[in-house]
Symmetry: C3
Subunit: 161 residues, 3 copies
């Protein structure tokens, strides 16, 4: 394939690679904790500290395909830079979630879902991109420029905690 | 990228987005049930009703990457419309599976696997599409039209319960 | 889409399809074991032999999206053949892991992670491919040929057990 297509995908690929590093680091933490507690074969239950790491990893893994699908849909159909930026923030939120999950139980109570706002943003971007495709196909009026500007601006709002 | 490529992907993307909505709704049900039973940190075990929701969600999550991969392979390499249609039916089956899983235990016993027929259909479509690619590359005879007609017809058979 | 793009994706798609077959066969083993032990609704816990199959399947499922993402990134951005070859070896390793997991507990102790070397190789390929894209975009010097030769050679090293 030529570099023209790559130009529209490369930042998404970079975010994906970073997410893979994070996945692997989470998996290593599970592995480490599992080796600590039992010398026998890997199990899904065990000491409270292992349960915590395993659950945190599991919840992250559960949400991962959804995140990836949205990241690439939003990046391909709408605009690459804001999608990659939102993806990066999602990885930060995920890191925070994972660390918070392992922390004190008395302090905070992270639930099953995290990064709702970012997932919602990526979803909106995908929908906007697909609607724009139909606009182009039916009316011939391309709103791509506006979409890129708007999504670029709105993505900055994700930085607000 | 230009609209020519989008034309071949847009319905797959729409089905993907719908599946994402479903994923998130399942996750919210797990979150809701988890909050109901324990005020502390999220755990993977608990009351029977929570166990049920969690298992149902887990089984759906387990099958999700496989489904996505097949949906896009079938749609890209063979024919878009039947793949998207089969994907849509898969989402219906998944919804039914999830609801049935939470229902009476005496009534039905949903297993670990669901939507076998649709997964099989998408798999066959992918294989046919890839075989056709090699036919084109080696013999130069394109069966794409026949494939599209056949898969379009067969996909209607998926509606039979 | 035209055959030009397919040429760069077809082997990745084939490996993906094989991985799907493996996923489904793993899922069927879980289903089979679950039916053996309890006639009621599917549960995530049970007899030791079921626990083992379920854990083995779960660990494979957990790593699957990461693997798929790396496979396609490495294949699209760097070189198709070595990536598909590494993917194929990963599937062999996964099969061995799954079988080994069900085996004697006294013998070996498979952990949570498997196929580290292959994942690492695919990751390096992706990074090299993306770096090459930036090299082309900035300096105009294309190292693609060298990359393909090197990754092709190195991928053979994955065969060493």
């Amino acid at each position: 394939m030529d570099n023209d297509i790559f130009e529209n995908l490369v930042w998404l690929a970079i975010v994906t690679l970073i997410s893979v590093i994070q996945n692997v680091s989470f998996a290593f933490k599970v592995e480490h904790e599992a080796k600590h507690q039992n010398s026998k074969s890997f199990q899904r239950t065990g000491s409270p500290s292992f349960e915590k790491v395993y659950s945190a990893n599991q919840n992250c893994v559960d949400a991962y395909p959804t995140f990836l699908a949205l990241l690439w849909c939003a990046g391909v159909f709408c605009s690459q830079a804001p999608a990659a930026f939102a993806g990066l923030i999602y990885l930060f939120v995920r890191q925070k979630y994972f660390v918070g999950y392992l922390g004190e139980q008395t302090q905070s109570t992270p639930g099953y879902i995290f990064g709702k706002r970012i997932i919602f943003f990526l979803f909106l971007m995908s929908v906007a991109g697909i609607l724009n495709y139909f606009l182009v196909a039916i009316f011939g009026s391309d709103m791509e420029k506006y979409l890129k500007t708007i999504s670029g601006t709105v993505s900055a709002l994700l930085l607000i905690p």
